[in-house]
């Protein structure tokens, strides 16, 4: 891998065209652009996509935002669909029906609904079979396309439309599913968790590794949703920064079974700093919310300790 140079990577041709209908300030498309920039110029790609915001907004007939070939199939089967595409590539190459010097890469995008939940089986199957592809989850922590319903990626206490805060409810009861770890336990060659950092080096380097490591790879990208998280659209970089600095969303990678932190905050910030920025947690800052924040903090601490242990082995 060559050294990262922001000016160089930003000068590459865009592979996600403007004119898509994602909301103003959408985190997902920031992530998609970053992942696609890691494709080497000259390499071709087939992009897969689970049903979700990204799909209905990026390929609304006859407008496709994808400069590369693209296939949306359904909500729950982005893993299986790209399995088929990648296998077709091997079959056609083997049978001499594609030029020798043409290289295709296979990247599929799904939200947390299509990835953690309804598409979990399809993802697990594709990872286990070891197709040479990257599955990228843009995790915005709820079913945003249908109107902010909870998913297994939704953090505890978040106010969503199926875990609404009320007299008898503090929001979502359960804590998050740790999908990055679950996919790592598939023992695929590369798994990473990332989000947007100031110069986008972390997501770029991980995307490049994921795309250019042979075999199945998984990227979990925290992609804030201003509608669902209730923050001003302009604040996405601050939110991502706090997610990382509070260790809510640690940056790490698992390369051939080797867990490694790619960034460690010098001083872990309290989780309130992350929660306070978002309307979906505003009930935690009302009287009586202290205990809930404490519980949230305890969960973050426990998971962070777990991760440190995994990375120290």
């Amino acid at each position: 891998m060559a050294g990262y140079n922001l000016k160089e990577v930003m000068s590459k041709p865009e592979r996600l065209a403007a004119g898509h209908r994602m909301c103003a300030g959408c985190g997902a498309t920031i992530g998609i652009r970053a992942v696609l920039r890691a494709l080497h110029e000259g390499d071709r790609a087939v992009i897969g996509n689970a049903t979700g915001c990204l799909e209905v907004s990026s390929f609304m007939y006859p407008y496709t935002a994808w400069e590369d070939s693209y296939i949306h199939n359904a909500f729950e089967n982005a893993g299986a669909t790209l399995s088929g595409v990648e296998t077709a590539y091997r079959a056609l190459k083997k049978r001499g029906r594609l030029p020798e010097d043409e290289n295709f890469k296979f990247i599929t995008f799904g939200g947390d609904g299509g990835t953690y939940d309804i598409g979990f089986q399809s993802l697990s199957g594709a990872m286990e079979r070891g197709h040479d592809m990257v599955y990228v989850c843009y995790d915005n922590g709820a079913y945003m396309n249908t109107g902010i319903q909870r998913s297994s990626a939704t953090p505890q206490f978040a106010d969503t439309t199926t875990t609404p805060v009320g007299k008898e409810s503090h929001g979502k009861v359960q804590t998050r599913k740790d999908l990055s770890a679950i996919i790592a336990e598939h023992h695929v060659p590369y798994v990473a968790q990332t989000t947007f950092t100031k110069d986008f080096k972390d997501i770029h380097v991980k995307s490049e590794k994921a795309i250019y490591t042979e075999g199945a790879a998984f990227l979990n990208v925290l992609a804030p949703c201003p509608r669902g998280w209730r923050y001003e659209t302009s604040e996405v970089m601050k939110i991502c920064h706090l997610a990382v600095e509070t260790c809510y969303w640690p940056l790490f990678e698992v390369e051939h079974g080797n867990w490694r932190l790619t960034y460690e905050p010098k001083r872990k910030l309290p989780i309130e700093d992350f929660l306070r920025e978002q309307g979906r947690f505003k009930h935690l800052f009302k009287p009586g919310g202290e205990e809930l924040i404490e519980a949230f903090q305890a969960e973050v601490d426990k998971r962070w300790e777990d991760l440190l242990y995994r990375c120290s082995r």
């Binding site: 400069e67 693209y70 399995s83 088929g84 049978r95 399809s122």
Partner: protein, 397 residues
């Protein structure tokens, strides 16, 4: 040179798959179609074919992967039965609406519940409106022959629709019969190579598949899809004719067995057609003009052709190996009756439900149905519609 061999329907199908040697085959096991992916895997393991087999984790994924592979430019297929087909339901619609010329070899089995592994047509009949061409086999020979014709039909540019090749679970899939098999080279030549014009992996020519489309586009898209289904009829006939000329076998949309002068006709699909033919032969020996119309192509539905074929007879028994739970008969009965009415064929028809979940359908039962038609016709008495055949009740039949 063609040759004779003893094969089960599953073996015959797997043999044909080996000969066609498609590019990609994802599949997941389910009784009674399990043997097909097993046999294909064995052929691959022994170097007798080099299809890329994907051992997916479910039928939903087998059809999803087949959709991906086909869109990518690979000739693709899968195999399943029953709940497997039900699980891939959504994907059947996606395959057809994306106009992907996939092939699915279906070994018909009843749908749950109760869970039961034996044959009826509830799986494929349930999928009758998913946009797939459906071709049914009476026996192992037809299972073999129909599979070989499937890709040429699906891939024809006038069609570009997926094809479901159906055979009856166990009765056809597992029973061994003598069949005629063709040389590998002849089969390959008949099926031809696959070179789609547009596909995901075409370097420098990106394709986008599977859009969100607003109402202004969606209705027109569905109409276009239906036009392809209508056009497929002539292609099915052309391919059948080409097959018949080359290999000396086969039928078009249906087989007419002793129907030319028949007073009483049984309209039936799948393996039970053989039983019906035997009954017609026996009854003809006893002076009844009995015949059988064996429907080969259920989608597209040959409404006009069926009406014309039945027009001269006095009564027809429409045999559904499927319950439709609609209170007035099975799907075949609904469609045939509509065909008769709309084409002005004034024929008495009675709908029967038979053979659910593998219930035996005997020559004697078939004879009984012909006799009922005759008795009613002679006495002028109206027969009760929508009758279960071979059902135990306290009152008896």
């Amino acid at each position: 040179m063609s040759k004779k061999d003893r094969m089960s329907g599953n073996e015959a199908t797997a043999y044909a798959i080996r000969q066609v040697n498609p590019d990609v085959m994802p599949a997941f096991p389910i009784t009674p179609s399990t043997e097909i992916p097993q046999m294909v895997s064995t052929y691959i393991a022994n170097g007798e074919m080099d299809t890329e087999f994907i051992p997916v984790e479910s039928e939903h994924s087998s059809m999803s992967a087949a959709v991906g592979a086909e869109a990518a430019g690979a000739r693709s297929m899968t195999a399943t039965s029953s709940c497997g087909l039900a699980f891939m339901w959504e994907e059947l619609l996606v395959a057809a609406s994306n106009r992907l010329p996939l092939v699915l070899t279906l070994v018909n089995r009843t749908l749950s519940g109760p869970i039961n592994i034996n044959c009826d047509h509830s799986d494929s009949m349930g999928a009758r409106d998913t946009g797939w061409i459906q071709i049914y086999a009476e026996n192992n020979q037809e299972a073999y022959d129909n599979f070989i014709q499937a890709f040429p039909i699906a891939e024809d540019t006038r069609v570009h629709l997926p094809v479901m090749v159906c055979q009856d679970g166990f009765i056809t899939s597992h029973a061994v019969e003598n069949i005629t098999i063709e040389e590998d080279a002849d089969v390959k030549d008949f099926v031809g190579e696959y070179h789609p014009e547009e596909f995901l992996l075409n370097p420098g020519k990106p394709v986008a598949v599977g859009p969100y489309a607003v109402s202004n586009y969606s209705m027109e898209a569905k109409y276009n899809q239906e036009q392809a289904m209508i056009r497929s009829k002539e292609v099915i006939l052309e391919v059948a004719e080409k097959f018949r000329k080359r290999f000396g076998r086969g039928f078009g949309l249906f087989e007419q067995y002793r129907t030319e002068d028949a007073d009483f006709i049984m309209l039936i699909m799948g393996s039970a057609a053989g039983t019906a033919k035997e009954a017609a032969d026996r009854l003809r020996e006893r002076g009844m003009k009995a015949g059988v119309l064996k429907l080969r192509v259920f989608r597209p539905f040959p409404a006009e052709e069926i009406a014309d074929a039945l027009r001269g007879c006095r009564a027809v028994a429409i045999m559904d190996r499927c319950e439709s739970f609609n209170g007035h008969g099975g799907p075949l009965s609904s469609e045939v009756n509509a065909a008769l009415y709309l084409n002005g064929a004034d024929v008495v028809s009675v709908s029967y439900v038979y053979g659910l979940a593998g219930r035996d359908f005997t020559v004697e039962t078939a004879e009984g149905i012909f006799n009922e038609l005759r008795d009613a016709s002679e006495s002028g008495k109206k027969l009760t519609q929508y009758r279960y055949v071979g059902l135990r009740t306290r009152k008896g039949q």
